[in-house]
Symmetry: C2
Subunit: 207 residues, 2 copies
């Protein structure tokens, strides 16, 4: 446990340890309020080691965010393939909320991704959202590109991020109400999209 001088770890362990720590620190304070020295001290590690594992502070931050994003996607993919239709929507939203409740800070960091609109962070977030969007569209049987539905789902995801963040920060609404709203809202959103693009082969009611 204690390390009088040095502790040598496997690359993966150390990397994971640092990522988790980074997530926690960047969640607590703002990006440029967290100094490399502070991170190193907190980790009980030298500054140089951080530069050995990640290229620099920015890259470290980016990796932390990616770590969180990966966790979220993983959670969503834990939903059994067997579930379809509204039941699947319910399960996925539940998984989403569970993730937020368990890794609240990580989620917060994930969403507060912009250090003043950094292209790399923006791109990473965009890819993460596309993953979520793909899963939603897959859930209603849409595989081919459908711009209107992509728009609708993008709107939905943006809304989810907003309300869930609010919910996590200041618990004003019960989880139940939030869940109900989100389930009904995805359906309503998809119906709006269907009204604008009636030819799309979506299945909103697979039982």
């Amino acid at each position: 446990m204690a390390d009088p001088r040095r502790t040598r770890l496997q690359t993966d362990e150390r990397r994971a340890q640092l990522l988790t720590l980074g997530l926690r620190l960047f969640s607590t304070r703002a990006y440029d309020e967290v100094s490399i020295d502070a991170i190193a001290e907190e980790a009980g590690v030298s500054k140089g080691l951080l530069y050995h594992y990640f290229g620099g502070k920015r890259a470290y931050y980016l990796a932390s965010i990616e770590h969180a994003a990966g966790g979220l996607i993983e959670s969503l993919d834990a939903v059994p393939e067997a579930l379809v239709g509204p039941a699947r929507a319910l399960a996925m939203i539940t998984a989403y909320l569970d993730f937020v409740e368990h890794h609240g800070d990580a989620y917060g960091t994930l969403l507060s991704g912009g250090v003043g609109s950094d292209p790399e962070v923006t791109h990473l977030m965009a890819r993460s959202r596309e993953e979520v969007a793909a899963r939603i569209l897959h859930g209603v049987g849409l595989e081919a590109p459908r711009p209107v539905f992509e728009l609708a789902v993008r709107h939905y995801i943006g809304g989810v991020e907003a309300v869930v963040l609010d919910w996590h920060d200041r618990r004003q609404l019960s989880r139940t109400v939030l869940l109900q709203f989100l389930v009904q809202q995805i359906r309503a959103t998809l119906e709006v999209a269907l009204a604008l693009d009636p030819d799309a082969a979506v299945q909103l009611d697979v039982p």
Copy 2:
């Protein structure tokens, strides 16, 4: 025009000039890619002056964002009071899109700051969104607090920010389709809220 040595301006003018410049610079590059020196040089002003007007870089950034947020709210408030119901929704969304088309970069900065990293920026964005939310709720005749409707509107706004940012970055969809979607979506969202809170005295159909 040219200033061989010094140019002395009114406090308000200089402040406005610096804010506008800041908005432009922070929109172009990431926060910590923009150095105080660069800002000062671009403004044709000394570094120290920036510290005289704003407390520091962070505060300067914050003020720039606030500037942009103010412009957006102003645009929304330019919609005539006479318009009500769906027509008002259409007008306000149009005003929103107009603002984004005219001040696209400022809008981008505004939002990427909003997702933003530190408590002050977050708080500022929250207040700005509350202003928008209040205007939407007012538009349907809701003045008293209604948690479910606040949730719904928060979701809607989050979605709008997401899709509008996407739309601004990579014009994949026509403005018309976006507009149609957003108009129908606000109605659908409010209806979902109404289903969960049937007692609310909303007016979705004032002609």
